[in-house]
């Protein structure tokens, strides 16, 4: 059933009791052409684009818990394409373009809201760095605008412009950036994939891989039995090292915890997404009114999905430094998600050294915005055995060959990216 004003009216007249299930909760079959491990946004998007772009519909997405229950439910919903390096920018812009048409493609309201992002700068050197990044974006055909302090005042008059330590001198603005509804993204992709015949299998955790005599991966062992597969794709960011280890692989990745916070619901006050340039703090406001904000990762290896107080203090200090009025808001909830922190801060979409096994990993804390392009490019790789043209830099062997994509220039120290 297509969602439309007519289906809405018809269901309203029948008391909303006849809505069909949004997607099909499948039982595992014996074999598929492609098995995707991980029922988050990236895995489900991959399944959707495999079916939509490549006609490969004999596909299963297997998920150890429930779909969207991992990092897809633990992010801060920001979408943007304001990267500086040539290996990144075309990919994230492709993702941005897919966001812009996603609701029509999926026939599902994922609440894409292009409310803009402003990255504040607080020094001459930072202005130069942002001008350079904005120019790099424009060279890739992406909108970017360098704002003066007065321009920022018009956008967000409540910021602390005259702070002695961190005066706000302006910002780098991307108007097409914004937010999307994280769980709607998961369900939208699940519905679209399911309608094309993809099996979505929940409560099915991978416990090992099936290898043929030559060592190629030809299936997965799961808590619901063995499933044979022509190809296996991993989309389990946060746990990539654990799952890859089942196939005997070591990855250039550490798992770290990233915390985020939401305040009580408030009237509309934050116009878009705002990031502090002198510390790590970013904030937006959800459509329900909560202020959604976060900062740095905790900085030590963790799979615990919860963080510690020093980062809570650091995030709150950042918030108070840039917008003192946040001190009046009460925090409603906080949570932690587990990030695949790669050794250069950029993702991996590539074949693994084992035939039949493909990796979609290393998203650091930037995975949500990448969801559509990640699925698109991973599906392209699984279907054609070639990297998509926007994802050619995300190779697994770049660490060995020296072709790193290090936006921060922090080196092989994952907790600094």
């Amino acid at each position: 059933m297509r969602y439309s004003v007519f289906s809405l009216s018809a269901n309203a007249l029948s008391g909303h009791r006849r809505w069909k299930r949004v997607w099909r909760d499948a039982e595992p079959a014996e074999a598929y052409d492609v098995v995707i491990v991980g029922g988050g946004g990236h895995g489900l998007a991959t399944a959707h684009y495999l079916a939509r772009n490549h006609g490969i519909t004999n596909v299963a997405v297997i998920e150890k818990g429930w779909i969207g229950g991992g990092n897809a439910g633990r992010n801060t919903t920001i979408i943007r394409s304001n990267y500086g390096l040539p290996g990144n920018e075309p990919f994230y812009e492709w993702s941005m373009k897919l966001w812009e048409g996603l609701e029509q493609d999926l026939n599902y309201n994922v609440m894409v809201s292009q409310r803009g992002i402003v990255n504040l700068y607080h020094s001459d050197a930072q202005r130069d760095a942002y001008a350079r990044r904005g120019n790099a974006m424009r060279l890739h055909g992406v909108d970017a605008e360098l704002l003066s302090s007065d321009d920022v005042r018009k956008l967000a008059p409540f910021l602390d412009f005259e702070s002695a330590r961190f005066p706000i001198m302006g910002g780098l603005y991307q108007g097409r950036a914004g937010t999307a509804r994280h769980d709607a993204v998961v369900w939208g992709y699940a519905r679209a994939a399911s309608q094309r015949g993809v099996d979505i299998i929940q409560n099915c955790e991978v416990t090992g891989f099936v290898q043929d005599s030559a060592g190629a991966i030809v299936g997965v062992e799961t808590t619901r039995g063995a499933i044979r597969a022509g190809k296996v794709g991993l989309a389990v960011a946060g746990n990539s090292s654990r799952v890859a280890a089942l196939a005997g692989l070591r990855l250039p990745i550490e798992s770290h915890v990233l915390q985020a916070f939401v305040s009580e619901g408030l009237k509309p006050v934050i116009p878009g997404v705002i990031t502090f340039g002198a510390g790590h703090f970013y904030i937006s406001q959800s459509d329900k009114g909560g202020l959604v904000f976060g900062g740095d990762i905790d900085g030590y290896n963790s799979y615990a999905q919860r963080g510690n107080l020093p980062v809570v203090e650091d995030v709150c200090e950042g918030g108070m430094a840039v917008m003192p009025m946040i001190g009046r808001a009460r925090i409603l909830r906080s949570w932690g998600g587990i990030m695949d922190m790669s050794m250069d801060g950029s993702p991996i979409i590539d074949a693994s050294p084992l035939p039949g096994l493909y990796l979609n990993a290393g998203w650091c804390y930037g995975g949500f915005k990448a969801t559509p392009a990640s699925g698109w490019c991973f599906a392209h790789l699984l279907a054609t055995d070639r990297s998509h043209e926007t994802a050619t830099a995300f190779r697994l062997d770049r660490f060995e060959s020296g072709h790193l994509i290090d936006e921060k220039g922090a080196g092989a120290q994952p907790n600094l990216h």
Binding site: S241, P252, I253, G299, Y303, A304, N308, M343, F399, E400
Partner: protein, 83 residues
Amino acid sequence: MRLPCPYCGDRDAQEFSYRGDAGPRRPEGEDGLFDYVYLRDNPAGPIRELWYHANGCRNWIVVTRDTRTHEVHGSSLARESGA
């Protein structure tokens, strides 16, 4: 999270800087350098890891900690544990 510094006693993790897995050893030559710099076991469970007590005794220590729970099982001075 509080870490047991062998010299200072239990201290908040905020006083320390994190280096990561204490396992990898720098090889003598180029062989194995890529593994040493880039590849990690990244275990879900106990890990021996290097922390520097920057706001304390300024010593590197090796902490054994469970990455699933943040439970700390012990620590020693890095120079004494050969890390």
